[in-house]
Point group: D3
Amino acid sequence: MPVIECHLIEGYDDAAKSRLCAALTDAVRIVVPAPAESVTVLLHEVSASAYMRGGTHRTPAPALPDPAQTVRAFLDAMEARDLESARNMLGAGFTMTFPGTDPMTSLDALVAWAAPRYRFVTKSYTAFECLPSQDEHAIVYCRGTLSGEWPDGTAFDGIRFIDRFEVMQGLLTRQDVWNDIAETRGTS
Amino acid sequence: MPVIECHLIEGYDDAAKSRLCAALTDAVRIVVPAPAESVTVLLHEVSASAYMRGGTHRTPAPALPDPAQTVRAFLDAMEARDLESARNMLGAGFTMTFPGTDPMTSLDALVAWAAPRYRFVTKSYTAFECLPSQDEHAIVYCRGTLSGEWPDGTAFDGIRFIDRFEVMQGLLTRQDVWNDIAETRGTS
Amino acid sequence: MPVIECHLIEGYDDAAKSRLCAALTDAVRIVVPAPAESVTVLLHEVSASAYMRGGTHRTPAPALPDPAQTVRAFLDAMEARDLESARNMLGAGFTMTFPGTDPMTSLDALVAWAAPRYRFVTKSYTAFECLPSQDEHAIVYCRGTLSGEWPDGTAFDGIRFIDRFEVMQGLLTRQDVWNDIAETRGTS
Amino acid sequence: MPVIECHLIEGYDDAAKSRLCAALTDAVRIVVPAPAESVTVLLHEVSASAYMRGGTHRTPAPALPDPAQTVRAFLDAMEARDLESARNMLGAGFTMTFPGTDPMTSLDALVAWAAPRYRFVTKSYTAFECLPSQDEHAIVYCRGTLSGEWPDGTAFDGIRFIDRFEVMQGLLTRQDVWNDIAETRGTS
Amino acid sequence: MPVIECHLIEGYDDAAKSRLCAALTDAVRIVVPAPAESVTVLLHEVSASAYMRGGTHRTPAPALPDPAQTVRAFLDAMEARDLESARNMLGAGFTMTFPGTDPMTSLDALVAWAAPRYRFVTKSYTAFECLPSQDEHAIVYCRGTLSGEWPDGTAFDGIRFIDRFEVMQGLLTRQDVWNDIAETRGTS
Amino acid sequence: MPVIECHLIEGYDDAAKSRLCAALTDAVRIVVPAPAESVTVLLHEVSASAYMRGGTHRTPAPALPDPAQTVRAFLDAMEARDLESARNMLGAGFTMTFPGTDPMTSLDALVAWAAPRYRFVTKSYTAFECLPSQDEHAIVYCRGTLSGEWPDGTAFDGIRFIDRFEVMQGLLTRQDVWNDIAETRGTS
């Protein structure tokens, strides 16, 4: 049933508007059990000269990039061992925690940690799930299964994983990883 | 900058309205990098006789319970070994997957599986994170650390975990669990 | 697709609001080929102290009675030969035109005209259709079939008729009648 | 007093917007006895990317043609005996009922029926009145007087008529005709 | 033509809403040369639980008292020589400047200054004019004519004056006075 | 807290929209003690074909010029003794009242009146304050200090003044002047 009107300074492209409409639709549905087709979203765009807050006109900030896409690009770069690209996606204060590790602050530390654990690993994604935080970062969860080769060259696959990322202004500031590698290794 | 107006049939209590305001605020901020204090949300409540869709008046559905609270209540019941209460929170088709398990469909199966693994386990929560899905269920992530006793009576703590739940109409329909128990056990 | 918001001074009862919602829904659909379920109407009621036009607060006029109901009550009174009730539903300047008559201004004239034509007549209604005019009156069409007895006592039925009424402030100001009585009589 | 805001996907031309504003104005005035100059209508047009229902962007349907104009064009074609043009304005399931006839489904049937009744007939229009239905068709009433020649070549005029049309997507699906021809013929 | 909608947390009384409607009407008319009767103002009141800014519900501040009434009450108290009441209407940092004086900070200073100038003075008011400032205070202008007696007991009247006040939260923080007393005295 | 939406026919330039936003912001703040940064103004511009009042589309009137700028231009012209330009800024029925004068209707009368009073005078402006009236004119107050030379060639400065203007459609219709010239002259 709900109708949501969102007033914005004009300047957002269609993709950003589409993401915004979808996010507002979903936001309502977590509280109001409305069937999807009864949730209507309208964006009203006003020119900068037609918006004033506190007696001052405002310039609209550019839309934030889709945090799920940022995470996906990072994971792709890591899988392709393109560390330089991956490094460019890291924000200030980035930390990454893997099963059994303390927080690491560099990709090199991660590579060193992983070396004795597997020759390589490939991710199959079940889903990316994305949500805002009350702070400035967005949160992205991605989960699926890992396949790859153990150090001795034997293959593994179907190992469940989940990653949690914090993304700020298009840069990763935190990664937390859980998976069943130890469980699997222990039973194999 | 954005101003969000949401038109609702009246009848939601203050807690539901508060959750709705917060969800809409957060939804905008995942796309528009507005500072928090510039996001305004207004709920306009109309009487049922003042709302018509498709030529028909509608009755507002009651607000959905907060899915994070549902999950928390379930986890508390499990920790207190109050299986009956926990069972009442499960919806049709409920499955739970733990590290190394296939999907289990009953709490008894879980208890049987856990018995040889630890005497008991207690969860400390870092955060509950809640998001809508495109389907009818909401998603709740909760993460933190586990403490407890191994079968031999020695204590453990600080083991990272993350749970992912799907919640539909106040009932759990899916739980997926990841943690570092195998990793820890392997290294201990 | 359209969403219609109508701002009103509060004070209309549910029936009036319902009629207003329906009238707005229909109005949109005569221009925009939207499926019914995608037309949403919201009435926003404000208190008299929250509405000002031209620097002056206004008192809302009471809702107009449903003109179709007014017409129906008049036709029922006529059929029951309750001329006094029917007369009380006539507004200033009322005229009625029947097949082959000049405009008549009194119910007595009508009764005198009808006397040699049929003993009595009963209306079965197919539909009442109601629309606003650009002037102050509403227009009501009602159509269906007539049954009754000719002056010689033989019965007739199934004769098509249509009436057009103008209704102002709950009173009839004009009635125009067409029917197939002459056609039927001619062929019988 | 009422202020009506109607939110639309952009793309309607000025004529359609004008008809929509007028239809909304009239719709209000059938319930609320507001003087014309106090009814304000605002159309808010949003781009397709700024509108979402049920999580999906929508494409606006083109405005429906003015049903009164459709009817007028049909009547003009009939009067000019341009049957082919008139036939192109008929929709699936078209029926027409004239005084004393069963429903006819083709213009040829009408022509055959009319042949012995009058040499030709010309319509003078008093008014076209147009209203939405609760179904998908619009309803158009047109009334006025007929003039023409009887089969014997004598002239007639000033005979009252009323036609009722149903119009769907710019095509006629039903015509019902009442007039005083039999009444007049009978008295002449 | 303009329609102004103002969204407020509920809790303002009718007098405050009336003043707000009038202030918004006037504000538009200083820019848009709309005839009065075409300016419509609607206040939409939402409950505190239906309003959120920056993720926080807000408590509405009570309406400010009408600054013109505050000024009038002060001037009445002064004229009645009720210095105690007048003093209670003064805010922190109050200053008053009269023709030829430096800013004075107390009513006693004023009384001392006025003593040799006139026995008493009475104000007739032509108008109070009130406007907001960009700061927190409101501005009130009042003008009219003075009558009274010179120290020698001769009467005067019709002397033009204008006072400018700054009013903050119902208290006077500044008064500036101009009048033609010196002009008149000089010519008498 | 308030959010103000103002619906306008499109066609106003950025400067007019900016003045309108500011005027609406200020109008709210004279009643509601909201901190500036919590007052949001949105102008919604609709095309002329998307606005109807009383069943009629309307043409937007051009924005009124800023009355403070009109007054400033007049005062500048007077100071520069450019009487012709100043005269062109006067509207029908213009009157001006100075300390001790009756209302004068021409600039020549003013010049004649001032000649024996000072050789020239220059204004330093503290502030221009502008407000709407309930009538068609706007009101502009300007105040500051005067400097110049007395007829005997001695200089003066720091003499307080205040002018009140009425401005209609960009032309001055009334000026009232108060100052401390007589007070100063009397004490010098």
